[in-house]
Structures are given as structure tokens and as C-alpha cells.
Symmetry: none
């Protein structure tokens, strides 16, 4: 966005709800339409009939976004200007506060064979208890000269690793080879300033392997996504909003926190999330509601489960709409077509509903209909100014 | 614009007419379509049937443009690269030539109560005669040490104020609080270089209030939009055109002058404007015809009046088309939906007609049809290269 929205933001008493169906987008093939096209979504169809539809491209043509850029774009942060490493995302999700100078990485507990070759990047998706015990062991025994090591267990094989000390730099390559049959990669500094950090990571890797040598499953920790503390300008400062997040999964709670959202009480499922929305309705003017199951089903390659996850969300729409938001948006952070069992670059359907949005002629929510919609096809980062404008929160530009 | 049009501009004998229906865009709601969709526009429909249609976004997603950026974009000037303050626009409209170093602001004659609190920002929309007398009084009596003060009455409460002298800087905040019930704001310099100017503006405010102390209605002058002389590259240099403007209202005449257009004899209404076009047909190769009433009706929240203003323009199309332009474009500078009674961020329909434009399948002029059009949806600044190309005025790029 060339326009500086902060200079145009104007106060208002309006409320915006942004519902993100994680991995919403899909693609049609010879067998069937996209998951959203095939889903029965009477409530979303009603919203789109009364509002405007379109397609969003989260990062750019042909680019498959991770969760970080996908969400940052929806929150109006240019994903090229604001990059978040996996380490920073994990830390945010675990509520581990990174400090300036910290270097964080995402770690996978992994299985190496006797020759030091990776045979399972996720240590058999090790059970939480077992993983927790191993992380505790490492936290007790790993030490590096002059560097504090903070370890936090996320779930299963996933571990956050933070290195804290003077002169650290995150420009270090992953040790996670992202494949099996090869040894972990030696870390390399991509700038001279990161030489010491790369050596520390190599030493960390050696000591971890020594300590875990007797473990049958998890005998190494593969690191990826080295990153440091990022100071993102808050949504309060950029848009004059008082925003809140209602998300079940830690990473999305973390991303929300990074842009200044208040992260509301942890909800167990979508019903809970709607209850949280209702009980905090008077306290905030922007609500981010994150719905994960569509992405999980897509990642599992389960077409029917993704359809069901979308239909589940559809049934929650009346309770959300009943709060009478001024602007209600439903879209996704990226596509997760079940045919690919992975994130993809395909565009993501979006609908925006509100009194001054303007109606187009689209009456069903789905890729093939959104293509004809009044929003057109645009980068996801343009959604935020459209939401703000539709909520009367942007002043005129220029005389 | 990534492409440097100046390096591609090539001479031609073709003529382009750009008709700007001010505030053309609107939005559909439950009650009706947009003003343009509901208007009966057989002549515009014929043009669009023989040409191509699309939707323009003047400044960016969600951004509501003022008249300055809305028109600059249509003339092919990136509205972020070329910013115009209200003062510069007013000066241009009044044919007061700003010189390098001048600082200009838009002034409102206003009513303060005995406590110095603004009770009417427009002094009851004071009559022209009365306002003219007061501006004359101020021009005679206000003086600032080392600074020449130029005052020019626009209409009603609107006054142009120019400060002329060495070392002035326009980075001064408005004294107009843009609301009632508070005193005028003290001017602040936003850069140290403007300290002296801010002090001069404060002194100007004091002296104006002293001089007008006995006036019942207009006893202060609220200032906003401080700006300085802007040197815009002309359309002659950028495009090799010899352009003329046919506009009724001063501000649009002013904007046209800033980009190098010859501003033709003042016309009283659209019939007059068409006559001026006819009589100057052989003298220019680009004509900007500005039609204000659609915007005025939109600003008044009058749906039917905006429809009528569009239908009025439609009836003038045959006379314009009869001149046989090579390229005829009809669009708007921004949306002014009557539901909002204000400018808005909604996209603006556009049609381009000409022998080599190419026909799409759209046969009616209006937002819902333009969405399907051959021009697609694009930033307004891209219209100018399309007009030039369609008029055979852009050479091939690259070998």
C-alpha cells in the first residue's frame, strides 16, 4: 500500500469482525469443484448476497504463503516488508517474549540412525509427555559459553529454541534438511556478523546429540527458521483500532499478539470462540476469529473433512452476525487444496458485508462466483483498507 | 507508472476527449442499483457497446480521494508522487499564481463566540457580497513584518490566503479544528524550518481576529491545507499533447492549469461547455470536459438528482461524438455515493471508445456491467497510457 493508512485513520465507534477460515482456498478439478464450492453454506451465501465478493492473492502470483505472511497480509501488513521467521512465530505462539538481540528457531525432535542420517524428521510424532521429558532434560543439561539457551515445548516433536546473549545474529541457515536419508545440515552464517551464532548453533547441535545419544526415538533437534525479535507497528498505531483475537491454536494467537491484538481467553472450539466474541463484544472494535479445521483437513488431503469444516463455520455465522457488526469479512489466509495436502498459491475467496460496502451480483460464496465479484481479484493486503473504509475509519486522501 | 511515457510519446494528429463526471461512482444496496446503473443513458450505452468498459480505483483500495488526487490520477500523474494541498488547489482555481517559496492555505470565514470558541465554521455560509467586503477589509489592514499577505475571495466563506516572503515553509498544522465547540487550533511547525511560518500564522490569526472583532458573523479565518508552489511536469512534456480544459468550477480549472492545460473560456453549463469544445476543436488535441453536477447531487445525498445529472451528461454525448474524436473516454474522478453524501473509496466506472480500442461484450454503462469489461479493474493512473495508445500516440517499447 503506498497510502499511509495511519495518517488517514479516523476514530469511529464501528466494529469489524474478520473471520479467517485457515486454508480456505482450493481448486476445482475433473472430479469436483473446490471444497468451498461443494460445501453447503447458506449463511455465507446470504452474507455474500448482501455484500461483495472477490478473490485474494495473499503474497503474489504463484507464491505459496506460510501462516505468517498469510495472516500479516490479512492484517494489512505487507508480507515482504514484514517478514517473520518460524522462530519468531513459535515464540509468539508460546508466549515466550523475544527480546532485542535474541535468536529464535523452530526445532523438530528427530530420529537419526547410527550413521547420523535423519530417518524421521518428527521422531515418530513423539507423544507430548515423552517430548516434554526430553525438552526438560535438554533445558537442564545444554549450556553454551556466554549464551543462555531457552527451550520451550510446543506439542509433539515441536520445540522452540531461543539463544540469548550479546552479539547474536539470526542470519544462520537451517540445520533441518527438510528430508530424510541425509544428515542434518551444518549451520552456515549468511552474513559475517552471524559467524559466532553459526558456531554456537553447531556446538548446540553437538551437545544435544550427546545428551540424547541414549534416546531411542528423539536423538536430535533439527533447527529451522532462525529469526530475531521483531518490532511490528501495532494495529492500534497503524489503524487506530482496539483489536482482539479469538483463536484456538498458539501460532495464530502469537501472530495476533505481534500486531498488538489482545489475545482473548483460550477457546477449545468454534462454539467457545463465538461465546468469547459475545462476552467481549463491548470491549473491542476489531475481532479476528480464526477457524483452523479447514486447513488441517486440507493438509490431511481429506476433501470431505475440509468441506465439513467449512460447513461447521457456516453454521456459526448467524451467531456472529447477530452481534450486528458494522463490517463482517470472511476469507482465508491462503489456499490448502486437499488435492495437494499442503498450502498452495491458489487465490482465496473473500466476502465483505456491511451497510456501505455495496452489493455486487454474486449470491454464492465460492471461487467460481467470487471471480465475478465487486471486490475483484487483489492482494490480501488490500483487504484491511477496504474493511476500515467500510467501517467509516479512513479519512479522505488529499484535498 | 513504471513506464516512462515521455520517452514513448510520439506525435500524431489524433484527438482525445476525456469527459469526467465528477463523483460518478456509487454503490448498490437493497433499495436500488448505483446512480449510473439506474440512470437512462442510451448514448453512453452506445459508446460502451462500441468500446471497452472497466472500473478504476483512483488512489488505492479503500482510499477516498479528494478532487486533487482523483483528477491527477486521471491525467496520468501518480497521486502519491504528486501531492497538492488545498491551498495550492485554491490558488490554481483562482488563477493566483503561486511563486516558489510562497505558502498558501485555504481559509474559512468563521464565527467565534465571546470565548473564542468556533460556533460556525462557515460563518453561516456568508453571502458573497458580505464576504467580499470582509476580505477587502482584511487585505487592506492585515500586515505581517517582512511577509506579504495576499488574500483572494473564492465564494461564500472560502478565502485563499498566500504568505509571500523569504524563508517560509508550508509544514504548518491547520488552525481549522474541523469541528465546532472548540477554539481554533494554534498552528504548529512540523519541521524546524517552519517555525517562523508557524509564528507568522499565529500572528496573522491574532490580527485577523482584532480587525474582525466588530463583525457579527465572520470574526475569524480558519486556515487549513498549507502548501507551497508545486512544479508539475506538464502534459505537453510528458505526453506530447496540446491539452485544453473546459470546466465550470474554479478548482478543476486550477488543477488543469497545474498540469499545463490551456483553460478555455469559462462556461456556465454543459451546453456552454459543448459549444466551447466545438469552437476550439481545431486548436487542441486533448480536451478535458468536467461535469460537476453529479458530485454535487451525491454530496447532497440526493439519489434522483445524481441520476438526473448523469442523464444530463448523457444527452450531451451525441454533440461531443459528432466532433469525431479518435478517442472518447467517460469516467469519474472518484465515487460520491448519495447514500454517503460524500466522496468514497468505491471504484469508478470507465468507458473508452475509439476505432482501435477493441470491443468487449459490455453493452450498458454502469458498475455491474463494467465489472465484466475489457479494461478490467485498474488504478486510474493507467487510463492515460490507454488513451494515448488508443490515439496512436505511444511508440513501441523495446526492440
Amino acid at each position: 500500500m503506498p497510502a499511509d493508512l495511519a495518517s488517514l485513520a479516523q476514530p469511529a465507534t464501528t466494529r469489524i469482525v474478520l473471520v479467517v477460515i485457515d486454508g480456505l482456498g482450493g481448486f476445482a478439478d475433473a472430479a469436483h469443484g473446490t471444497e468451498l464450492e461443494e460445501a453447503s453454506t447458506p449463511n455465507l451465501d446470504r452474507l455474500v448476497s448482501e455484500g461483495a465478493a472477490g478473490l485474494l492473492e495473499p503474497v503474489g502470483a504463484g507464491i505459496t504463503p506460510g501462516s505468517g505472511p498469510g495472516h500479516l497480509a490479512l492484517f494489512g501488513y505487507d508480507p515482504f516488508e514484514y517478514e517473520l521467521g518460524r522462530g519468531a512465530l513459535s515464540a509468539a505462539g508460546l508466549e515466550v517474549e523475544l527480546r532485542p538481540g535474541d535468536v529464535a528457531a523452530r526445532g523438530n525432535l528427530a530420529t537419526l540412525d547410527a550413521d547420523g542420517v535423519v530417518v524421521d524428521r518428527r521422531a515418530g510424532r513423539i507423544a507430548d509427555d515423552d517430548a516434554g521429558r526430553i525438552v526438560g532434560l535438554l533445558a537442564e543439561k545444554v549450556n553454551l559459553p556466554g549464551i543462555e539457551v531457552v527451550l520451550a515445548h510446543e506439542a509433539q516433536h515441536r520445540v522452540l529454541v531461543v539463544l540469548r546473549g550479546a552479539g547474536l545474529d539470526p542470519h544462520v541457515t537451517d540445520t533441518d534438511p527438510q528430508t530424510v536419508g541425509v544428515p542434518p545440515r551444518p549451520p552456515h552464517a549468511t552474513t559475517p556478523a552471524a559467524d559466532r551464532t553459526a558456531r554456537a548453533v553447531a556446538e548446540f547441535d553437538r551437545r544435544v546429540r550427546d545428551i540424547l545419544a541414549g534416546e531411542p526415538e528423539a536423538n536430535a533437534l533439527l533447527l529451522r527458521g532462525f529469526d530475531t525479535h521483531r518490532e511490528l507497528p501495532s494495529m492500534q498505531i497503524r489503524y487506530g483500532l482496539n483489536p482482539a483475537a479469538i483463536a484456538v491454536y498458539p501460532m495464530y494467537r502469537g501472530i495476533a499478539r505481534l500486531v498488538g491484538m489482545e489475545v482473548l481467553a483460550k477457546a477449545a472450539d468454534l462454539d467457545d470462540q463465538v461465546s468469547v466474541l459475545q462476552s467481549h463484544w463491548d470491549d473491542f472494535d476489531f475481532f479476528f476469529v480464526h477457524h483452523k479445521p479447514a486447513d488441517s483437513a486440507g493438509e490431511d488431503g481429506n476433501f470431505e473433512a475440509k468441506v465439513a469444516a467449512i460447513e461447521l463455520l457456516d453454521r456459526a455465522i448467524p451467531a456472529i452476525a447477530e452481534q450486528d457488526p458494522d463490517v463482517l469479512v470472511v476469507t482465508g489466509d491462503h489456499a490448502t487444496p486437499s488435492q495437494l495436502a499442503a498450502h498452495s498459491w491458489h487465490p482465496v475467496p473473500a466476502l465483505i458485508w456491511g451497510k456501505v460496502v455495496g452489493r455486487d451480483t454474486v449470491s454464492r460464496f465460492g471461487e467460481r462466483w467470487c471471480r465475478e465479484g465487486g471486490l475483484g481479484r487483489r492482494p490480501s493486503v488490500e483487504l484491511m483498507p477496504l474493511m476500515l473504509a467500510s467501517a467509516g475509519r479512513l479519512a479522505k486522501y488529499g484535498a
